[in-house]
């Protein structure tokens, strides 16, 4: 009986239903907790582009006190009725820049909560193997980079993955500027590593063995800075 075809088919079907049911139950039960972790990580990434977070810092408290988040359109106008957390960058990235919903995270000053100290913008693009994304913090002049935080889904460990794992690579962007006079030029990661770019405001040292990931980062920054260009021109101080 155990070898008959109908027994096998029924056995497989029951097994599938039981396993699928259990997994659906687990996924549903843990969803809230997982989403909380993902949100926390995003807040942490946004904050870490501008300040150094101590171990065990209350990220929620700092975030809600300091960060004002909203969404703008390509023209730089604030869009009402939609919050940054409702914007899926992976979806927006595929649209034409003019149609994108663009989240903005304003980082308020300690002394004057109405004064914007930094503006953190999300960026999204494609590296060598898979999506790359991150946050770029600009000073209130909306030109000078305060800090960046990159992440990736599948760049090569030890090579392209350094955009996330190597703080030194991310620190290279600090103090660079994205406008030349009033023309948007973005910041480009160059080919080759170990060169000095201190006097070149729009270039940073490259990553040896990861030129293509670097190109992906360059495209990502250029693409997203261009999307935010109208907003930047309207709001720079």
């Amino acid at each position: 009986m155990r070898q008959s075809n109908s027994y096998i088919v029924i056995y497989a079907a029951v097994l599938t239903i039981v396993c699928g049911g259990l997994l659906a139950l687990a996924a549903e039960g843990l969803k809230e907790k997982q989403q909380y972790n993902i949100d926390m990580e995003q807040k942490k990434n946004i904050l870490s582009t501008v300040i150094t977070l101590d171990e065990g810092a209350d990220i929620n408290a700092v975030y809600s006190k300091k960060v004002k988040a909203f969404v703008v359109d390509f023209e730089g106008n604030v869009k009402d009725g939609i919050e940054p957390k409702d914007v899926n960058l992976a979806v927006e990235y595929k649209k034409a820049p003019a149609d994108r919903l663009l989240p903005v995270y304003e980082f308020k000053s300690e002394s004057d909560p109405n004064k914007t100290e930094y503006v953190v913008l999300p960026v999204f693009g494609y590296g060598l193997w898979n999506n790359i994304w991150g946050f770029v913090a600009l000073k209130a002049d909306l030109n000078t980079i305060q800090g960046v935080k990159f992440q990736h889904a599948g760049e090569t460990p030890g090579l392209g993955a350094r955009i996330e794992s190597d703080q030194d690579v991310q620190d290279r962007y600090k103090g660079k500027t994205i406008f030349d006079e009033s023309k948007l030029v973005s910041v480009s990661m160059m080919k080759g590593e170990g060169f000095e770019y201190a006097d070149k405001p729009h270039q940073v040292d490259g990553m040896s063995g990861a030129t293509l990931t670097g190109k992906g980062v360059n495209n990502m920054l250029k693409d997203y800075f261009a999307s935010y260009e109208n907003y930047m021109k309207k709001n720079k101080q």
Partner: protein, 220 residues
Amino acid sequence: MSTEAVAVQEKKSEPLFSKANRKLISNPLDIDNPVTVQILGVCSALAVTTQMKPAFVMSLGLTIVTASSNVVISMMRNSIPSRIRIIVQLAVVSLWVILVDQLLKAYVYEVSKQLSVFVGLIITNCIVMGRLEAYAMGNKPWPSLLDGMGNGLGYGMILMTLAFFRELFGGGSLFGFKVFESMGVHYTGNGLMLLPAGACILLGIIIWIQRSINGYRESH
């Protein structure tokens, strides 16, 4: 009718921690170690051992998956049609692996990010499938549980040993605690220890030491 005869024999009750049962735990730690003797699960042993914490969580994950899959398959063993037994085993293993992965994502998110794809790859870890096919398909749940735990611990033991040396000499810390710094010694990490190649060399040395102690020889 031979199956019934075996079933009757099995019924002779045995103390929970009889000598044979204790061996199920202790053998995989030494003479029958899944990593150093059977050379299974090496891929993840090289990949997740740069630090103690992910190595520990990975060991725990694999132990839980192996032990629970062993028990479930052992309970189902008399009903599993032999023509689809591998796929049934796979389904049960996947179930546990996804559960573990979901739990990690919910409760230790940072660690789950470090382990990333390797938790999912427990499904293809030869240790798990090997124990199901070789042991749980023919034994009762209790010994299967012990066998699964034993093999998980044997794997974990090697992972922790590797991670101990790699984190200590590669980064100068243990479980993130800066050992050399706290002793006031300046230590520059050895980069080789952090690379998979360094882990491979280290694993080779561990295998050498263990085999020279327990006298294991490959049979030809």
